[in-house]
Symmetry: none
Subunit: 404 residues, 2 copies
């Protein structure tokens, strides 16, 4: 038997006045998820623990059986892993923006006009430099985004961001604990050098000619140390893959030793080809034991505070799930979210998320539709994210007995 | 007030096609457990944690408030303790079979024709020997079964089994980690010596004459280190006893410092006198605070894949529970299982088990029958095995306040 875990990112929500007091999921017409709820067992899940406002990174770590408090020091390593950088435990990684500063080092555009062209050339100018015996690995990502990795001895992730997160003076990076001073110095040097090396780069001269803001500095944020994660294969003896549009989810799964399955049309937004992602997941199960399929779109509508949009995208994803009904005789299927992103909050909340599990042997309950307020009446009651993989693998007959 | 904890071993199950989509417990006519469910509070319990496939040994450790991940290295010590061997923390203990090998050390009968006679004489031949400064304690158990204890300095439980678990060559014991080489050598020597000392033993000469396979070797398996367990008395300040037919449950309780109550007719199988066990438990509560009564039979039917048989034995055990209704005014009674053994799986699963608690002061709910799918709608929701003893002792007014 196989396992398919479908994560509707940020799907959990709170009652919305705009939707007549229902949540987007409750309000949406979701015949396929309702079918699975009816054929399965339902409950709610705290992605990390009750009341904890999980990020997508920390939540996915938890869903894969890792303790985020033990392995997570910042977002950087997961973004970098999602961009296919080869990371080593102990590396310090950052998310970065190409930004625009004036001659006084004041940030006047945090995204350098959402630059799209020639960022590879800019990145190559910075990649490979050495600062105080520390290697710099730098790679452009989508548009103005990039990732930075510092590799060397004695580095610490406990430093502040260079990115001021608003217009104004570039932050001087400061240590957040004793022993992090040198890493802060190295990062300050990197930021200064990025300005020196980029300000007169041909790509920026071209941009200025066109009246576009130059990408004349790199501003790192979200420092984190690359953790050593025992791979999913070592932990559970299974072969697992992931289909996701966003690099942070791919990065978590990559560091967990999962196979990254690239699907045309997996964009990490509302334009994603959800049907293609589900198909690719089903196809992967021909050679793997478990697949995680992440759909980012609901989270984006939550952040935008758009309950109608969130409802509509949940309906669209539900439509794409139609083929799942045909694999229930040999697959344990779970549908849930990595966290709640209530539209009224426009950010992640600590509310639990609904969870359904369907497939052979499941102890069904009498819940007939999938929603935040029907799920807790189901047979799963309330579980934690870290328990999910164990629950699914044992249902699929893929786990070891502990004891005799 | 007193506490009676009744464990129907392996009772939890999954919906069975043979039983019209019901579990054996749901399908069984259980007026007494239904009465207790109605008078009490219901829920589901993860013996160790959600999704973990517990053994009877690890589950009972958890139910008594111990962390099996901290104290469990293998089944041997609990079997040996269940056979009344005096164990010391650090001893390495094994389950063993008397087996039959041919002249090439190929196992031709793993159970030596299920030998019943003169095993005490065979055991005495091996008991008390010394190998490389390590004492050997060896005792026969029921039929072909026996237990072995190695006592000495620097021993490790991290070694493989000598028992090949099927016909064929006797396994050479191998270390599973650095530092376990010597223990592996000692065990290999023990196995070789057992053959030398038993092959021409008078009991085996007699067996050969009768055309029976000789018990000419001992094959150990399930190495484990005897843990130091703080006793139930020290942990909770109570006096507790156990009634169980199978040695592994008795062994866990014995290492936890509980009194082993021997009951005529407690056989650890379907022929057990369930009524006698319940009566003996009630009687013990005249002098003790808490009694655990384990009924092994449902687990055996689960392993045999026999849902009709499991249903019937649950009905028989339910009948035996009739007198419990009369002690509810001064006893907290809990009924649950140590794990699920679904008939369709013929092995332990990681599914939660139903739990009911009845007695004075319990916050009743509206559940009127005892079953895997009615229980989660009850007032206990979902709890863990390690929490049970605390829940029961506080209801009985037997626990200390933590804080002011």
């Amino acid at each position: 038997m196989k396992v398919m875990l479908v994560i509707l990112d940020g799907m959990g929500d709170r009652p919305s006045a705009i939707l007549g007091g229902k949540t987007p999921l409750e309000s949406a017409n979701t015949p396929n998820m309702d079918y699975l709820a009816e054929k399965g067992i339902n409950g709610i899940m705290d992605p990390i623990a009750p009341g904890i406002r999980a990020g997508s990174d920390t939540a996915h770590l938890s869903l894969l059986g890792y303790d985020p408090y033990g392995v997570y020091t910042g977002r950087g390593p997961f973004e970098a892993a999602g961009e296919n950088l080869e990371l080593k435990p102990g590396d310090i990684a950052f998310r970065c923006n190409f930004s625009t500063v004036d001659e006084n080092m004041n940030v006047i555009d945090r995204r350098a006009g959402r630059i799209k062209e020639r960022t590879h050339e800019l990145a190559e100018t910075l990649n490979g430099m050495e600062i105080d015996g520390t290697s710099v690995i730098f790679k452009e990502s989508v548009e103005h985004r990039a990732v930075l990795v510092l590799r060397g001895e004695g580095l610490s992730p406990r430093i502040t961001d260079a990115d001021p997160h608003r217009l104004g003076r570039v932050n001087e990076v400061k240590p957040l604990e004793k022993g992090a001073e040198r890493t802060a110095d190295i990062l300050n040097t990197f930021v200064r050098k990025s300005h020196e090396l980029l300000k007169n780069h041909p790509a920026n001269i071209e941009r200025r000619k066109k009246g576009l803001p130059p990408a004349n500095i790199v501003l790192p944020r979200g420092a984190g140390m690359v953790p050593h994660l025992e791979s999913i294969g070592e932990k559970y003896g299974i072969k697992a893959g992931v289909i996701a549009g966003v690099s942070i989810v791919k990065g978590v799964c990559r560091l967990a030793g999962m196979e990254i399955l690239n699907v045309d049309g997996a964009k990490g937004n509302a334009e994603s080809d959800f049907r293609a992602k589900i198909s690719a997941g089903m196809e992967y199960l021909g050679r793997g034991d478990m697949v995680l399929v992440n759909m980012k779109a609901p989270d984006l509508f939550g952040h935008d505070g758009d309950p109608e949009g969130k409802k509509a995208i949940i309906e669209k994803i539900d439509e794409a799930m139609d083929p799942i009904k045909d694999i229930l005789d040999h697959t344990i299927v779970a549908i849930t979210a990595d966290h709640s992103t209530p539209c009224d909050l426009m950010d992640h909340s600590g509310d639990p998320v609904p969870l359904l599990i369907a497939g052979p042997g499941v102890r069904t309950d009498d819940i007939g539709n999938f929603g935040e307020r029907s799920a807790p009446k189901g047979g799963l009651c309330r579980v934690r994210g870290c328990d999910i993989i164990g629950i699914l693998l044992q249902l699929a007959g893929l786990s070891e007995k502990f004891g005799a």
